[in-house]
């Protein structure tokens, strides 16, 4: 969609030739496919990868051959390659506001359920640090293998122990099975336990069905964002993929990634990797999710964190967003676990208020 728009847009005096490969989520395929794209198709810029495991497969090749990977997904941080532009949310955008909100407004005692892989491990670690600093506790940390559908023992435990809040970092079908079983069991038991997520998106709400309502979610993008850029984007999305289709945060982020790439190419006037990277740094783009730009210090995206709660119509009702775009902090070096949310927001909010003063060498 973004490629077609750019190829037909008079503002861009070049066009993209997409070479599409689908590794189908098979981790080892990513290496093969990326190698083929670079070696045989002569590709310079790659937009893609979702899981960290797939990114780690591609990373050595793009570094060795000096290509740029435009990675649209949010991830757990603790990586910073010169050959990757991290367009999705960093952990300080994603996990931090959600856990802060939980501590301030729901409870300091949380029951964690997640998939047994790096995203959950790391999210739980950050959660544990924040919760412990606030004198709260992790009531349990239950992990399921990816794709596991046997969720009943965990739901039973939740109903029995009645935690004040559940943090769900499951991904894919495990998450859908869990949300349905959780909803059914807590409703039957007359319990009202809030659930948190930092990955749920609109297409997933549709898959899960009505049981998905009421989930407090952290994300940089929701379909319901009230910005003219987003209205136009959603309109074009539905015209292309059907009225019933909804863009996910990741779909939107891939779109943003292609635009960031196109704008950087136009600004650099060349497809040379180093010059494109420099051109992308600090170059503001009014995207569907609001103003975004790449932080030249770490190649991660400056963006606006938001919190919303899912409703019965398969949409999210926004109830909080940062006052200004927040700088990415992939290694959480700015994280002060003892600080309250207010202090951190003001500190993070103040630094990017003068983004145009960046010196581009």
């Amino acid at each position: 969609m973004a490629v077609d728009e750019i190829n037909h847009h008079p503002d861009f005096d070049f066009s993209f030739t997409p070479h599409v490969r689908d590794p189908r989520g098979v981790i080892t395929e990513y290496h093969t496919v990326c190698d083929d794209l670079i070696r045989n198709a002569g590709v310079e810029h790659i937009v893609g990868c979702y899981t960290s495991a797939s990114r780690k497969q591609v990373l050595p090749i793009v570094e060795r051959t000096d290509r740029l990977l435009w990675y649209p997904a949010r991830y757990e941080g603790f990586e910073c390659s010169d050959n990757v532009i991290y367009v999705g949310a960093s952990p300080n955008h994603n996990v931090l506001p959600l856990v802060r909100y939980m501590l301030d407004n729901i409870s300091r005692h949380v029951f964690c359920v997640g998939s047994n892989y790096v995203w959950t491990w790391e999210t739980n670690r950050v959660t544990r640090e924040l919760v412990t600093a606030a004198h709260g506790s992790i009531l349990a940390e239950r992990l399921l293998e990816l794709g596991e559908s046997a969720v009943d023992h965990i739901v039973d435990e939740i109903v029995r122990r009645k935690p004040p809040v559940v943090f769900n970092t499951l991904v894919g079908s495990s998450s859908y099975d869990f949300i349905r079983a959780f909803h059914a069991a807590t409703t039957a038991a007359g319990l009202d336990i809030p659930m948190l997520s930092c990955s749920l998106c609109e297409p997933e709400l549709k898959i899960v069905g009505p049981a998905s309502a009421g989930c407090i979610t952290s994300s940089a993008y929701f379909e319901s964002i009230r910005l003219p850029e987003n209205r136009a984007f959603v309109h074009l999305w539905k015209a292309r993929y059907g009225e019933a289709s909804s863009p996910s945060v990741d779909g939107q982020s891939a779109y943003v990634a292609v635009y960031l790439l196109a704008r950087a190419l136009r600004r650099a006037g060349t497809s040379n990797i180093g010059e494109v990277r420099r051109a992308a740094a600090g170059y503001r783009y009014n995207s569907p999710q609001g103003p975004v730009w790449i932080d030249g210090d770490n190649n991660h995206c400056v963006l606006t964190p938001r919190l919303a709660v899912s409703n019965t119509q398969g949409q999210f009702d926004l109830f909080w967003e940062a006052e200004a775009p927040v700088r990415p902090d992939p290694y959480l070096t700015q994280l002060d676990v003892a600080a309250g949310s207010a202090r951190e927001t003001s500190r993070n909010g103040s630094s990017p208020s003068a983004p145009h003063l960046r010196v581009v060498k």
Partner: protein
């Protein structure tokens, strides 16, 4: 893994591969452990025993590093593995383990001495009493006797404390 295999063959190191849960049929001199398999299942946990561990890191997230640190690795390599670095990691692992073992022995010796301080004190008091001498003279006497009998001060003190008197001076 083929890179490690090739590099180890060049270095004359025999390789045994061992998967999670499987039995280990050798006493390795060094173990390479992939962070993907952490935490190790409990029967496998004891397998590497006292040999140095080289951790193979796929990610630098603190949650993963914490599990890696539980192995007390002597060295590490970052995945994807390259031939460069493997030899240095091995040398570093053996050297680190040797130095750590030396330190452990030293600590054990010091702890032993610390424990026997009470015995030395008891022996000094006994000699001060029986020989009517001051503490420095009593200690010097015990030390000289220990040297003559080719014993440590601690051993000598233990004998004095047990017998209630200094062995007859020979000099």
């Amino acid at each position: 893994m083929s890179i490690v295999r090739r590099q180890f063959e060049r270095l004359g190191i025999d390789i045994f591969t061992w998967g999670p849960g499987g039995p280990l049929e050798c006493q390795p001199d060094v173990a390479l452990i992939d962070d993907e398999f952490l935490p190790l299942a409990s029967p496998a946990r004891a397998l590497p025993g006292r040999c140095p561990v080289i951790a193979l890191l796929g990610t630098e997230t603190p949650s993963r590093l914490k599990l890696v640190l539980e192995l007390d690795p002597a060295s590490f390599l970052v995945k994807p593995l390259r031939s460069a670095g493997i030899y240095a990691a091995l040398v570093m692992a053996f050297e680190r383990t040797e130095r750590t073992n030396e330190l452990k022995q030293q600590v054990a010796k010091l702890e032993d001495r610390l424990r026997s301080r009470r015995v030395v004190l008891a022996a000094v008091l006994q000699v001060m009493h029986s020989h009517s001498v001051a503490e420095p003279a009593a200690f010097a006497l015990i030390r000289r006797t220990a040297m003559e009998q080719r014993k440590t001060i601690e051993q000598m003190s233990a004998e004095i404390a047990a017998n209630g008197s200094l062995p007859r001076a020979t000099g």
